[in-house]
Amino acid sequence: MYEFRMPSLGADMEAGTLVEWLIKSGDEVQRGQVVAVVETQKGAVDVEIWEAGTVDRLVVETGRKVPVGELLALLRTAGEAAATAAETPAAPATPQAVTAPTIVAAAPPRAATAAVSARQRVAPSARKLAEELGIDIAAVQAAEPGAVISRADVERAAQAKMPTPVVAKSAVPDWHAQMRMAIATAMSRSKREIPHYYLATDIDVTAVSSWLETENLKRSVTERLLPVVPFMKAVALALREVPELNGFWVDGAARPSAAVHLGMAIAMRGGGLVAPAIHDADRKSLDQLMADLRDLITRVRSGRLRSSEMSDPTVTFTNLGEQGVEGVFGVIYPPQVAIVGLGKISERPWVEGGAVVVRKVATVTLAADHRASDGHRGGLFLAALDRLLQQPEKLR
């Protein structure tokens, strides 16, 4: 039996609220399928399952806040499905008579609530109100048995809790405050635990800029590449050469990752940021990276990210140069071990062969965890990045 548990969607996450199940008992699921929606401090996330099989049982009902690692559902994998089928001959004889005892025996503590919640249907507006008022939606009763739970039902439940309305309200900060808190937790931990070292280098990006300009001239407006895209590819390739910058520091040891999942720092409208992953960035074409980036930013802005994007970036890339800053020395997102920053691309005087020429130049930075790597290796990474950017036609 495969145990599907609440995933950690980032170092700062302790618990998430199960908003919706997209599967039910008996459904077949595929690896990578989105099976649930979980509300985190950073918005709603589509949670994927990484095992194929048949849903045996949903353990947690919607509306509940669940700690990371807690069991959400049980899945029968291929072999087990066969085993269960073999045992079934005995079962059909008794189900009618002993339905209740069987359920109780299978899951004593939760059987009652699970049975109720299976029938509980909640209007999205009611769920939102319950969240605002700090009411446990699972405890709200519909006006009539079996009816959809409405805002009115939630309000009634809230009134029943009246003695402490002020406390209940202030205990549920608004979404922006939650996002601030999530960032505060992760960044405080980073600065407390990670001995950062910082490197910067100016790179002549004339070649890659002109290459991109020529490339975009051939393309219609919907197929154009953003300036950051070739940099994403170059960063991912350079990380392959210095693998100790790509991965995690966990339990006192470095855990380099074979895959490069590039976490793109994306600002959210109205404040806050997330850095979800573009998977296997080192192996994707520029067109694919652009398509993935477009998809990712669109979903960040509309608040629908997938769990794997939140949980498995192996490094972060920030492009603050967009906003005009010359260089950005990032704070590492734990348990990652590095963050790469791209500053503004601008024309600057550049000395070449004894003469001053005008070149497009960008300041590229690295903040890395000194426990996992040393400055010398960090320097090699920036040198590799420089080298790769001089041959943009090879980045495709």
């Binding site: 300009e213 975009n216 001239l217 219609s220 407006v221 919907t222 154009r224 953003l226 300036p227 950051v228 600002a267 409208r269 109205g270 980036l293 477009r294 930013i297 967009e322 906003q323």
Partner: protein
């Protein structure tokens, strides 16, 4: 081909901006100041802005002309001229 006057172009620009940055209040935009200084948009938003203008007006806007779209006034000027030129 449809022809547009300046008022229509202005409305189309606001529609495109509104789709990208819903919090934008058209009345508060200073017409000769940089749009990006007044609205919180990045290069991705700007590309989507160009794509929307392309879809609505049916004109292709090359990258080298992006500078002409930096303020509201210059954008109206540029788009009106481009739309008139194709007739």
């Amino acid at each position: 081909m449809t022809s547009y006057n300046r008022e229509q172009i202005r409305d189309i620009i606001f529609d495109a901006l509104g789709a990208i940055a819903p919090e934008v209040e058209p009345a508060l935009i200073v017409p000769d100041r940089s749009l990006r200084e007044q609205i919180d948009i990045d290069s991705f938003d700007f590309l989507n802005f160009i794509i929307r203008l392309h879809e609505t007006l049916g004109i292709d806007i090359p990258e080298k002309d992006y500078a002409e779209l930096l303020t509201l006034n210059s954008a109206i000027e540029y788009l009106t001229r481009r739309c008139a030129a194709r007739e």
